[in-house]
């Protein structure tokens, strides 16, 4: 089907919400692309995300959505294009440095530290804001105690956003599925990101869990005033909470705009439902 879908570049139309007007965007992708195994998995990806915007990244399976996340977090190094994060070029950075620069993410297949307790999962993510060294830890010096207590308090506070403080000491791997997804979000937030990437947060959830998740994403957005990009197949969730939506198909952006615009876009409908067979 690939040959049939003719690629027409989409003009880089800004979908920045009003409140972010006048503030530099948190993320700018310019002509981002990657070739994986000879296939252009993502090509000519342009996207600007406002300081506090929630953007949905949608598209059929295999469209390259997760690949975009992997490019942003430098799991893959892009073959072409530029990623500006808070105005800073991330060229040459690795996953760790991109996280320090402000991107945190969750994973499509949950990747928790399964044998660590829930709170330790969160505290591990605070590693970079702690300063005590190995000697302080071994000798239990005052700065170790001070920083550990502070981290512990903050971790509990973060967990309480999702009502998870009661599970703090349980091993992360023992949590029910939905709680694991929430913990992944808390862990990502603990790194103080300016941009949060959520990869199918509602996958495998029932409608009521999805509704709770939606509330939680709104709550996080309000509390932390950060930008969020969200990959999701649950259209009600995407249409409800995203301010801008970007549709990918075969590695190309086929549409960009507000939820209303996207819902009525013929290219999007075609990508999802397929083209009517010509007689």
């Amino acid at each position: 089907m690939r040959s049939k879908t003719k690629y027409v570049p989409v003009p880089s139309k800004s979908i920045l919400p009003e409140r972010d007007a006048g503030r530099a965007p948190v993320l700018e992708c310019i002509k981002l692309g990657i070739t994986l195994g000879g296939i252009k998995a993502v090509e000519d990806f342009n996207l600007t995300v406002g300081r506090t915007e929630i953007v949905g990244l949608i598209g059929p399976n295999g469209a390259g959505k997760t690949t975009v996340f992997n490019l942003l977090t430098k799991v893959y190094q892009p073959t072409t294009g530029t990623i500006l994060l808070n105005g800073q070029d991330t060229h040459g950075m690795d996953t760790r440095q991109v996280n320090k620069a402000g991107i945190a993410r969750t994973f499509q297949n949950i990747r928790l530290f399964r044998n660590l307790s829930v709170i330790d999962n969160v505290k591990t993510a605070m590693n970079n804001e702690m300063n005590y060294n190995m000697v302080s830890a071994i000798l239990r010096l005052p700065n170790y105690r001070r920083e550990e207590v502070a981290a512990h308090r903050r971790a509990l506070k973060l967990l309480s956003i999702f009502d998870m403080q009661s599970m703090a000491d349980a091993p992360a791997g023992s949590l029910p599925y939905g709680a694991q997804r929430r913990l992944e979000i808390v862990r990502a937030l603990a790194t103080n990101p300016s941009l949060l990437l959520l990869d199918e947060p509602a996958a495998g959830m029932n409608p009521s869990e999805t509704a709770d998740l939606m509330d939680n994403i709104r709550k996080v957005h309000e509390m932390f005033q950060i930008a969020i990009i969200l990959i999701e197949h649950d259209m009600s969730l995407v249409m409800n909470i995203c301010e801008g939506i970007c549709v990918l198909n075969f590695g190309h952006i086929i549409a960009k705009g507000t939820p209303d615009e996207i819902q009525n876009n013929p290219a999007v409908i075609e990508a999802y439902l397929g083209r009517k067979k010509e007689a």
Binding site: T66, N70, V75, F107, Q108
Partner: protein, 293 residues
């Protein structure tokens, strides 16, 4: 000419490593385990050969055939008893079990055959071919080893790519679950792999002890580790990789012994391994697999 002499003995030693490494690599490919007991199967094969020839007066080639059959059976038994129950277990548990099996074989051999070294009779006698007015001499066993290794390599490649069982092996090493769904008998395939690997080990044992004629219960362990290194060197899981890795390791070892220092030859061999893995982290012919995110 000395250079050529060293080179040929390197290729010969390397051929033995290659035959052992093929066993390692096939087993690794299919069950993702480091079978540390493989080196000791070599020793068992060599002992069987030794007794078949010395005590029962069998023709040496017939003796090797007997050793191959018995070692194959041993391989199947070892796999069935010790490794099969651990298919789902963490890899470290399987590794320790394999090491336990290695100790088991060594100590059983010690009880059965004592620790006194046996002088192994060469399968083809001690003669040599002389070339270039006697400047270059290649012993019969050296020539035989190289030829046997080439034959095994070709036969194994054909087996794996052309026969139904060979294809089943490749399918199992890619994805056991999917292979099972396609109607492949995974257990039988894994047993077969161990049987072939152990049969090859028996040949390697006979060749090794023909070239270096002291046979002890610990004879197999160092060549086993070296061959394992060779398999990693070439890219573990890859049959041509094991062949190439084995040959290169043999040549490097002989050259290191000749030109650097015989005491440090092992250090040189392992040093080269480390350098190769730094440049190519999956070995010379291995393929890098990236974890899906």
């Amino acid at each position: 000419m000395t250079f050529l002499n060293f080179f040929i003995s390197g290729i010969s030693l390397g051929s033995i490593y290659a035959i052992i490494a093929l066993g390692y690599t096939m087993v690794y490919g299919i069950s993702k385990m480091l079978n540390f007991a493989h080196g000791d199967v070599i020793m068992v094969g060599a002992y069987i050969c030794f007794y078949a020839v010395v005590r029962y007066g069998l023709n040496p080639f017939l003796a090797v055939a007997v050793a191959m059959v018995l070692c194959s059976v041993l391989g199947i038994i070892v796999e069935g008893l010790a490794y099969k129950p651990l298919r789902q277990a963490p890899s470290l548990a399987v590794l320790i079990t394999a090491i336990g099996m290695s100790y088991f074989l060594q100590n059983t051999a010690l009880l059965l055959w004592s620790s006194n070294p046996k002088v192994f009779p060469s399968v083809v006698g001690r003669g040599a071919f002389h070339m270039f007015n006697g400047n270059l001499s290649v012993s019969h066993i050296t020539a035989l080893t190289i030829i046997v290794c080439l034959v095994i390599m070709v036969a194994l490649s054909l087996f794996v790519s052309k026969t139904k069982m060979g294809k089943a092996m490749r399918a199992c090493s890619e994805d056991k679950g999917a292979a099972q769904l396609m109607g492949i008998n995974v257990n039988a395939t894994i047993s077969m792999t161990f049987a072939i690997g152990s049969g090859l080990a028996a040949i390697a044992g006979a060749l090794l002890c023909s070239a270096y004629p002291t046979l002890m219960p610990t004879t197999g362990s160092l060549p086993g580790i070296k061959a394992f290194t060779a398999a990693v060197f070439g890219g573990i899981g890859s049959i041509p990789g094991a062949f190439l890795g084995g040959l290169m390791l043999g040549v490097i070892e002989i050259f290191a012994k000749a030109y650097i220092s015989s005491q440090l030859s092992d250090a040189v061999v392992f040093g080269v391994l480390i350098v190769v893995l730094l440049v190519k982290p999956a070995g010379l012919l291995g393929k890098m697999t990236q974890e899906k995110v």
